[in-house]
Amino acid sequence: MTELSRIWRETEYRYNLIGFRCKNCGRTYFPPRDICPYCHRESIGKMEKVKLSGNGEILSYSIVHDSSPAFKREIPYVMALIKLDEGPSITAQVVDCNPDEVDIGRRVHMVFRKIREDGKNGIIEYGYKFRLD
C-alpha cells in the first residue's frame, strides 16, 4: 500500500511546486530543505517557502522503455532533469510528446497530472509533470 502520510505531507509541494529559499544566501531549493547546505546553521529559521514558476529547461533526459506496471500505459516515456528558472534542478516526467521531440535545452512548463494510483481502490497521487513549451 502506498504511504498515505507521505503523500499527504508532500501534497503542497508536489501540487504547487513549493520550494524553500535561504534568506541568508538567496539560494532556492526543491524539494524543500530545513537547512541550506551552504549556510548551515546560519540558515536556521531563515528558510522561507517560495512558489516556483514551473518554467525551466531540459538539462538531460532518458527515454524509459521498461518500467513498473504502474507506468506501462505510458511507455515509452521521457524522464528529464529539468533546471527550473529559479535555480533548482528536479527530475520529472515530460508528457504529451513523442520521445523524438525532446531535446537538451528545450523549454518546458509544469502541468498537473496523475502520478500513480494505488490499485483500483487505493488513493490517487497527483503532482507535477512537465510539458514542452
Binding site: 501540487y15 512558489k51 506496471p69 504502474a70 508528457v95 498537473f112 497530472r113 496523475k114 497527483y126
Partner: protein, 351 residues
C-alpha cells in the same frame, strides 16, 4: 451586477477520428461522421482525469486575472466522471490552486449540466454576499462503451469560471433552470458505462429541455433570438445543438463560435462551458450571449449574459484560448485509445 470575472479551459491534446472507431466496429465512417457531425474527439492521456483537467482549467482562469485564491470563497466541480466515488475533486483543485482553509466546496452531478448548476449556485452566493468570488468548473472524461454510438463522441475537457462582482467581463443578467424526471440517459453506481434510453434522447430529453429553457429565458428578458450576438447550447454531438438553434430561430453566425463538438467531441459537463469559453475568447463589449446547457435525467440551465467593457483589458492571452487548444493536437489510433482509456483487459504486468 455579478458575472464572469475570469475563465479558463483545458482540453487534452490527443484526438481520435470517427473513421478510426468505425474501422474497428464495422460501421460506415461517413454515416457516423455525418449523422453525428463529428470530425474528431479529444482523448485524455493515461495520467489525466477530471481532477487534472479541472486543475489546468482553474489555473488558466487564475492566470488571466489578479485574483488572490484566498478570495475565492467557494469551489464547485461538476462532472459525471469524478475520479473518486467518495472524496471530492473540489478539494484537490482547491489545494492545487492554493486556496486556504475556509471555503465552500462540493462536487456536483447532474449528467452534462453539473458545471452550469455550479455556476448558478456560485452566482447566488456572490449575489447574497456570502462570498467575494467563487469558482465553478464543468469537467469530464466521459465514458462511451466500446462499440456504442456514444464512443464516437464521449470525450474529455473542461472549463473553470470565476464569478464575482468586481472587474466583471461578462455580466450574468439572469439564469433559470427547467427540470423533469426523464429516463433518457443514466449510469448506475459501479457501472463503467452509461446507457441511453434510445427514443428519450432526442425530443423528450434534449430538445424539450433546451428549447423550454431558452424560450423561458427570452420570455423573462423580453428578448428575441436576433437580440443575441452569440448562442451556445449543450453539444452531445454536432447535430443536436444545430437543430435546437434552428428551431429557436438562431442563425449559424450566432452559434458557430461556441460549437466545438465537431472538433473535440462531447465533453459532457464541460460542453456548454467550453462553448461559452470559445465565445468569450472572441466577444466584444456589449455582445449578448444566450447559453443553455442540458443534463440528462433531465434538465437545462439557461444564462443571459452581456459582455462588458472590461473584456478589452482582459488578459486572455495569459492562458491558451479554445482556438489554441483545438489547434495543437496529436491523433491516435484505436489501439492507443483503448490503452489510454483502460479499455483493454490487462494482466498483472499492468497496474
Amino acid at each position: 451586477m455579478s458575472g464572469i470575472v475570469s475563465y479558463g479551459s483545458y482540453i487534452p491534446q490527443y484526438r481520435i477520428k470517427p473513421e478510426e472507431i468505425a474501422r474497428i466496429w464495422g460501421d460506415e465512417p461517413d454515416k457516423m461522421k455525418n449523422n453525428l457531425f463529428i470530425l474528431s474527439k479529444s482523448v485524455p492521456a493515461p495520467d489525466e482525469d477530471v481532477a487534472t483537467i479541472s486543475v489546468e482549467a482553474a489555473r488558466n482562469a487564475l492566470k488571466r486575472s489578479d485574483i488572490d485564491p484566498a478570495d475565492i470563497g467557494a469551489i464547485y466541480v461538476g462532472s459525471e466522471s469524478h475520479p473518486y466515488a467518495v472524496k471530492p475533486t473540489a478539494t484537490i483543485v482547491a489545494a492545487a490552486i492554493g486556496m486556504p482553509l475556509q471555503y465552500f466546496a462540493a462536487d456536483y452531478e447532474f449528467a452534462c449540466k453539473a458545471g452550469t448548476a455550479g455556476m448558478q449556485n456560485i452566482k447566488a452566493m456572490v449575489d447574497s454576499g456570502y462570498i467575494k468570488y467563487g469558482m465553478a468548473i464543468g469537467s469530464d472524461t466521459s465514458q462511451g462503451a466500446p462499440g456504442d454510438a456514444l464512443e464516437y463522441t464521449a470525450s474529455a475537457g473542461g472549463t473553470a469560471m470565476i464569478i464575482g462582482k468586481e472587474n466583471v467581463i461578462a455580466e450574468i443578467n439572469s439564469t433559470l433552470s427547467v427540470s423533469t424526471d426523464t429516463p433518457d440517459f443514466w449510469r448506475r453506481e459501479g457501472e463503467p458505462y452509461p446507457k441511453h434510453g434510445e427514443r428519450f434522447t432526442g425530443e423528450p430529453g434534449y430538445f424539450k429541455h433546451v428549447i423550454a429553457a431558452a424560450r423561458a429565458m427570452m420570455e423573462r428578458m423580453e428578448t428575441k433570438p436576433e437580440d443575441y450576438d452569440y448562442a451556445v447550447f449543450h453539444q452531445p454531438n454536432g447535430k443536436f445543438p444545430t437543430r435546437a438553434a434552428k428551431i429557436l430561430g438562431f442563425t449559424e453566425e450566432q452559434y458557430k463560435t461556441g460549437l466545438l463538438t465537431p472538433y473535440i467531441g462531447n465533453t459532457y459537463s464541460g460542453s456548454t462551458m467550453n462553448g461559452l469559453s470559445a465565445i468569450l475568447d472572441e466577444a466584444q463589449p456589449g455582445d449578448r450571449i444566450l447559453a443553455v446547457s442540458f443534463g440528462s435525467g433531465a434538465g437545462s440551465d439557461a444564462f443571459d449574459i452581456t459582455v462588458t467593457d472590461n473584456i478589452k483589458d482582459y488578459k486572455k492571452y495569459n492562458a491558451p484560448t479554445i482556438k489554441k487548444l483545438i489547434e495543437k493536437v496529436k491523433f491516435i489510433d484505436y489501439g492507443t485509445y483503448t490503452k489510454f482509456r483502460k479499455i483493454i483487459v490487462t494482466g498483472d504486468s499492468v497496474e
